[in-house]
């Protein structure tokens, strides 16, 4: 597996090298690049996208928060996580635009657990695909969910892995806006994927 890139942007050399040293001390899975300001990030992003960008929010608070929003947008477009490195007071509203916050008092274990959480593919928030119609497989999954089957049952029945079932379910939720099994059941009845007699059996 290739190393995950982490960019650190902060005015302070102590902070940059400090975080870099902590990350290197415990894990070889990160490649760390640091920079004094965000101007050269632009090029880096184009050539090699990081998994995580650690920044001091200070550089982004001006201009009615527009700069921060632009950075957030970039994080979404390029698919990296945005983490604030905080050692001064910032408003909750500022910090809420970050995926996580590393505080100056966080110890090594805390910093690692935060970063690991962000780079764990299982936990990464799902990015919805466009509102394409449901695929035949997704319809199959909905029907089985509506009939009360567990993800494991569905995996067996459709000869797919449980991970595939979970990813189908995420896609379905993104497309329909329905997450719960009983909500999907109603969807299935409305769309005649199952009969309402089946519904009575499951509820």
């Amino acid at each position: 597996m290739s190393k995950k890139k982490i960019y650190i942007v902060d005015q302070s050399e102590i902070i940059r090298r400090g975080i870099g040293a902590i990350l290197r001390s415990r894990s070889y899975q990160y490649e760390i690049i640091d920079s004094i300001d965000s101007s050269d990030i632009q090029d880096c992003l184009r050539s090699q996208c990081p998994a995580i960008l650690l920044v001091n929010p200070q550089g982004y608070v001006g201009n009615k928060g527009e700069r921060l929003k632009a950075l957030r947008q970039k994080a979404i477009n390029f698919g990296f996580k945005l983490v604030a490195v905080v050692y001064a007071y910032f408003d909750e509203q500022v910090l809420s635009l970050f995926d996580d916050v590393i505080y100056i008092n966080d110890d090594e274990a805390k910093i690692f657990s935060k970063l690991e959480k962000l780079t764990d593919p299982e936990l990464s928030p799902f990015v919805p695909e466009e509102t394409s119609p449901l695929s035949q497989r997704e319809l199959d999954v909905i029907r089985l969910v509506a009939l009360g089957h567990s993800n494991r049952d569905i995996a067996e029945e459709l000869f797919i892995s449980i991970h595939t079932v979970i990813s189908h379910r995420k896609n379905i939720t993104a497309k329909l806006g329905i997450k719960s099994a009983s909500g999907l059941t109603i969807y299935a009845v409305i769309n005649k994927l199952i009969s309402s007699g089946d519904f009575d059996k499951t509820v």
């Binding site: 928060g65 806006g177 329905i178 719960s180 009983s182 909500g183 109603i186 009845v189 519904f199």
Partner: protein, 269 residues
């Protein structure tokens, strides 16, 4: 500032709070939102954001307060003005104050506020929406709409379980911890629980709500009745907004305060 101070005899803490919001306003350069401050007249605030009706109700403040300011009303009702302002501002603009502006002394008031919220959801709001769903089903030809009734019942049960867990386990723990925080060693049974357990398992009570809204907006085909369908949706939007801030207060104000108490009680050693 000095005139406000004289008028309502606010403590230095209150001043700190006022400063917080003024500072914040400058920093964030908000133009579309306003910070509610203690010297505002309650009637003006309610006129500016009708959602706050729900909040003052939960603090036990009844309408009919004439031109009284928030500070004056708080004094009359023996409410902590800081707490009332924090909660009102959360609802007004979804802005949460930084830790330094909260104090553990707010906990008893906060818990009774949250309990009043629970009572409102369980005894008033959810039953009312349930009735609207009944009316909707009666007034439409589509038999599939009957499914909404059991779905909603299931949802209401979830909410009720969530809230009774808070009232039977979490709040009593917090109050016991709070009571002992002044009188030395907390009893041993308190040591077995931690507020982080609550935060970690603080379940999402908005999932099914979201599903229901999507079903009504997107998935049910057009129905003969439109009035009740819209009414249900308006109520659900309302509830969603309300619950969101309710949970926000539990996670971002209540829990951090309890953590402070736990640290004081030496639980984290």
């Amino acid at each position: 500032m000095s005139s406000i101070y004289k008028k309502s005899r606010i403590s230095s803490d209150n001043l700190k709070y006022l400063l917080y919001f003024t500072e914040k306003e400058l920093r964030m350069n908000h133009t579309d939102e306003f910070r509610i401050e203690g010297n505002f007249r309650m009637a003006d605030v309610i006129n500016a954001n009708e959602r706050l009706l729900l909040i003052i109700e939960r603090f036990g403040i009844s309408l009919g307060f004439g031109d009284k300011t928030i500070f004056e009303i708080c004094r009359e009702h023996q409410l902590d003005p800081l707490l009332v302002l924090v909660v009102m501002n959360v609802f007004n603009s979804h802005s949460f104050p930084a830790q330094g502006f909260l104090s553990v002394n707010m906990l008893p008031g906060l818990i009774s506020y949250l309990k009043n919220g629970h009572r409102y959801y369980l005894k008033e709001k959810l039953p009312f929406i349930g009735e609207l769903i009944d009316r909707f089903i009666e007034n439409t030809d589509n038999p599939d709409t009957k499914l909404l009734k059991s779905f909603f019942r299931e949802y209401a049960r979830e909410v009720s379980e969530h809230m009774s867990l808070e009232e039977t386990t979490v709040f009593p723990y917090i109050l016991a911890l709070y009571n002992y925080s002044e009188n030395g060693e907390p009893p041993s049974e308190l040591m077995n629980y931690r507020i982080d357990e609550f935060v970690e398992h603080h379940s999402d009570i908005e999932e099914k709500l979201d599903d229901l809204m999507h079903l009504l907006i997107k998935h049910f085909p057009p129905t003969k009745d439109r009035f009740y369908r819209n009414m249900i949706l308006l109520e659900l939007f309302n509830l969603q907004y309300d619950l969101n801030d309710h949970s926000g207060i539990e996670n971002r104000i209540l829990a951090p305060l309890v953590r402070q108490l736990e640290e004081k009680a030496g639980k984290n050693e």
